[in-house]
């Protein structure tokens, strides 16, 4: 049982970020971006499968990755709100990706030394993959932010829109504190400073002001999600629930 809750939230972050990003498939601004977003979503799904699989093992109740992804209801998911928010326009999506992938990059770097060998292995691999996600997102934030009047205005509006939701990434709670004490995980608050510096670097290059910290929506870690989440989970699970055990 120990550590299962921590692995579950890491897996849920990756799974829901992947599911949301896949909604760009066939709708991205160019074929190259369609391919890029699909690739990033696939990386996230790969992380999610292993993290949820490990969460199920630690839980010891016989639930595998599919049971955890496809047979839980909304309130049983522990992902941060940031990854479930609607995609919005392309600027909102790259702003979300920048903030989330920078967090994941720093997180996985630290978890590469986890006391749990499976988590350490996933983190070592995922840390390398996440470099490309950061690179992609930062490239677009800079290109749009330091672009035309229209693109700069929309990029600024996007960063402002998602900014409040980034604070939940760094909130410590009982689950993260227990995981940190066991050497399995880390306290997310320790990532805030390096994350902040890296985000500032990108925003400065994009000639965008950093939004002030204010409203800090949270609740995802405790299973209290936004309205948008129900539709996402419904779409993600409908096939599995309609045809349990189906394969091809």
């Amino acid at each position: 049982m120990k550590g299962a809750a921590y692995l579950l939230r890491l897996g849920d972050d990756a799974l829901i970020a992947a599911q949301r990003m896949m909604q760009w498939c066939t709708r991205a601004p160019s074929i190259e971006d369609d391919v890029a977003l699909a690739n990033i979503a696939l990386d996230l799904l790969g992380q999610a499968r292993l993290l949820l699989g490990r969460a199920g093992e630690l839980e010891g109740a016989g639930r595998d990755e599919d049971a955890l992804a496809m047979r839980r209801d909304e309130h049983e998911f522990h992902n941060v709100l940031l990854v479930e928010l609607d995609n919005g326009d392309f600027a909102v999506s790259v702003a979300k990706l920048l903030c989330f992938s920078l967090y994941q990059r720093l997180l996985y770097e630290r978890l590469s030394a986890s006391a749990d060998a499976v988590l350490a292995g996933v983190a070592q691999k995922a840390a390398k993959e996440t470099v490309y996600h950061v690179d992609y997102a930062a490239g677009w934030v800079v290109r749009l932010g330091d672009g035309t009047t229209e693109s700069a205005a929309r990029m600024l509006s996007a960063v402002e829109e998602i900014w409040p939701y980034t604070s939940e990434l760094f909130a410590d709670d009982e689950v993260s504190s227990a995981a940190a004490a066991d050497g399995l995980g880390i306290a997310p608050s320790t990532l805030r400073e390096p994350w902040s510096q890296a985000v500032d670097e990108v925003l400065a290059e994009a000639r965008l002001p950093r939004p002030p910290d204010g409203w800090r929506p949270a609740g995802g870690r405790a299973g209290a999600h936004t309205e948008a989440f129900g539709y996402l989970v419904g779409e993600m699970q409908v096939l599995h629930r309609a045809h349990p055990g189906a394969s091809w």
């Binding site: 060998a117 350490a120 292995g121 070592q124 490239g139």
Partner: protein, 165 residues
């Protein structure tokens, strides 16, 4: 060489012939993802590591390994996936790099700085005409491990196996 180690060698050689379905010019041994082959009587355990966690080719590769090792006369074959140490493009040998070039795929160069932000990577020379001036079309390609580039000399587009280190 005793019987046990020669059986191990035979099983390794069989597993080593399996090609990566996303990158058919390379075998899994050349790519560096074939990690270990253990033989216990007629049972064989093959350990591989994924290039990317979400690599959709892993199931096909595992099926290929089972078929190849059984065709070499062994019994039940188990394919085990190991994540640590993590695969990097530094594991590609000189021969693998030459085969990539010959197939028109630019091999990976030295890796990017990892933190806080990746730096611009060096442009790979064109695998067809050798020109140094090339431009990136897309950092992501048809497979997770590929990027798309174009040569400004000969004008040909080409694939580039991304740095992963």
């Amino acid at each position: 060489m005793n019987a046990a180690s020669s059986a191990q060698g035979t099983a390794w050689a069989a597993a080593a012939t399996v090609a990566d379905p996303e990158l058919p010019v390379l075998t899994i041994a050349e790519l560096g993802i074939l990690r270990q082959v253990e033989v216990d009587g007629s049972r064989v355990t093959v350990t591989v590591t994924p290039t990317y966690l979400g690599c959709p080719a892993m199931d096909v590769i595992a099926a290929g390994i089972v078929a190849a090792v059984q065709a070499a006369g062994f019994g039940p074959v188990e394919v085990v996936r190991s994540l640590s140490p993590a695969w990097t493009t530094a594991w590609l040998g000189a021969q693998a790099r030459e085969k990539l070039l010959a197939a028109g795929i630019a091999p990976p160069g030295p890796g990017p700085r990892l933190l806080p932000l990746p730096t611009r990577r060096e442009a790979p020379p064109c695998p067809r005409c050798g020109a140094a001036a090339t431009t990136e079309l897309s950092r992501f390609g048809a497979a997770a491990c590929m990027a798309l580039w174009r040569c400004t000399g000969c004008g040909e587009p080409f694939e580039h196996l991304k740095e992963h280190c």
